[in-house]
């Protein structure tokens, strides 16, 4: 089998094929969204992330109604963060930002999370090497060596990262979080490594408007590549040249 035989599905790569024994059910949900529901035999990946893959997310804001926060709650439930009524310091892996046109009064709500930049400013400034970009383009914090200096939070133009101020208990086994470290959206890296979509994308597809298309930008046949080639899309603060992996349509 080759990757080409799966070309039309956004979430797939070489690693999926190495797990043939698991046996999986591929369900086409909506245009651009595929869910891979593994049986009990679904196993996490044993092959490293590949630089042949460049994960990206396209959000169509015309399908993203104001007041809907399914992506935010899905992320919260999946990764176990919560807000304690202190917006200045609360963790926020994903948030909805309200953009208002001053003249017409028209507004949009835009989901903003770590933009997984190709040239991430947070990685440049990290003094310990805790901020890093994985081979497949996902920008992460290695909390084992994060010293909590928060330079990355200052460097990030998207305010995507937050700092854990209080001791935590009963974290999710797949999403370790702890006091004194910086954290942000991981594109649900634990899910991707077992060939599943990020929690926000899944929630948006199953219960929401299907505004999010996730996939591999390096694969020209993936839904996200096709959409990016076909429609006008924009990156937030593209002028900074960080080349974010999150793109917006109808911004």
């Amino acid at each position: 089998m080759s990757a080409e035989s799966y070309g039309s599905h956004p979430v797939v790569d070489r690693r999926v094929l190495l797990r043939g024994a698991g046996g999986f059910l591929v369900t086409l949900l909506a245009p651009g969204v595929t869910l891979y529901a593994f049986g009990a035999a679904g196993h996490a990946s044993e092959a490293p992330a590949s630089s042949k893959v460049r994960w990206a997310l396209l959000i169509d804001l015309s399908k993203c109604p104001a007041g809907c926060d399914l992506c935010v709650t899905a992320c919260r439930d999946e990764n176990g963060w919560q807000q304690n009524g202190r917006p200045e310091t609360d963790p926020q892996w994903i948030r909805k930002v309200k953009l208002r046109d001053g003249r017409t009064g028209e507004y949009r709500e835009v989901p903003v999370m770590c933009q997984h930049c190709d040239k991430p400013a947070c990685v440049d400034v990290c003094p310990t090497g805790a901020s890093f970009k994985r081979a497949d383009g996902i920008v992460l914090v290695d909390k084992h060596i994060c010293i909590g200096c928060r330079f990355c939070m200052m460097a990030c133009p998207y305010k995507a990262r937050s700092f854990v101020h209080q001791p935590l208990t009963d974290q999710k086994p797949w999403a370790p979080r702890g006091k004194g470290t910086v954290e942000a959206c991981t594109f649900c890296v634990h899910r991707l490594d077992s060939a599943r979509l990020p929690a926000c994308v899944e929630a948006c597809a199953v219960k929401g408007g299907g505004a999010m298309t996730f996939g591999d930008l390096n694969d020209p046949t993936s839904e996200v590549s096709k959409a990016v080639a076909k429609y006008a899309t924009s990156q937030v603060r593209a002028d900074l040249g960080l080349e974010p992996a999150v793109r917006y349509r109808n911004l």
Binding site: T27, L140, H144, L168, V206
Partner: protein
């Protein structure tokens, strides 16, 4: 003088009681070292002596590979240790690292080696209901089926 003798006698008796308790413990287990509860399943990923000396190296190697490279070998996953070595508390639920009964803590307290793994990592298995969030179960498949039915109509 009498008071001093009483203190000495008291001390001697205290030591004797402790020694007797220690000897009884060692007679039961053959060693003074803690006897952590046995894990679930037939055997560990390596034999006990090897694990005692090398578990930290295995975890360290796995952590770098998993976080940095995305190599998620399940064999040396900390979550695997936590799942197998869960100890049920008084309420029947697995105890967290806060409890002296916790598998890792039972030895680490004795050896006076403090670990900070569980400041971030879960120290007990996820409750089965919540675990569905990461292992797609019937619920998720049902949701997908429901969605497909809705689309079909």
């Amino acid at each position: 003088m009498r008071r001093r003798a009483a203190i000495a006698l008291g001390l001697f008796m205290g030591v004797a009681v402790l020694a007797a308790a220690g000897m009884r413990a060692s007679a039961e287990s053959g060693t003074l070292a803690p006897q952590p509860p046995k894990g679930r399943g037939e055997h560990c990923v390596a034999d006990t002596d090897f694990m005692r000396r090398n578990h930290m190296k295995m975890l360290l190697g796995h952590r770098s590979e998993a976080v940095r490279l995305g190599v998620r070998t399940q064999q040396y996953d900390l979550n695997g240790c936590v799942d197998c070595h869960a100890v049920a508390g008084a309420d029947g639920r697995p105890v967290s690292f806060d409890s002296p009964q916790h598998f890792c803590r039972s030895c680490h307290t004795y050896a006076a080696v403090s670990i900070d793994c569980f400041e971030c990592h879960a120290s007990r298995p996820q409750a089965p209901g919540k675990a569905a969030a990461v292992q797609p179960g019937d619920k998720e498949v049902a949701a997908i089926s429901q969605y497909l039915r809705d689309v079909g109509q």
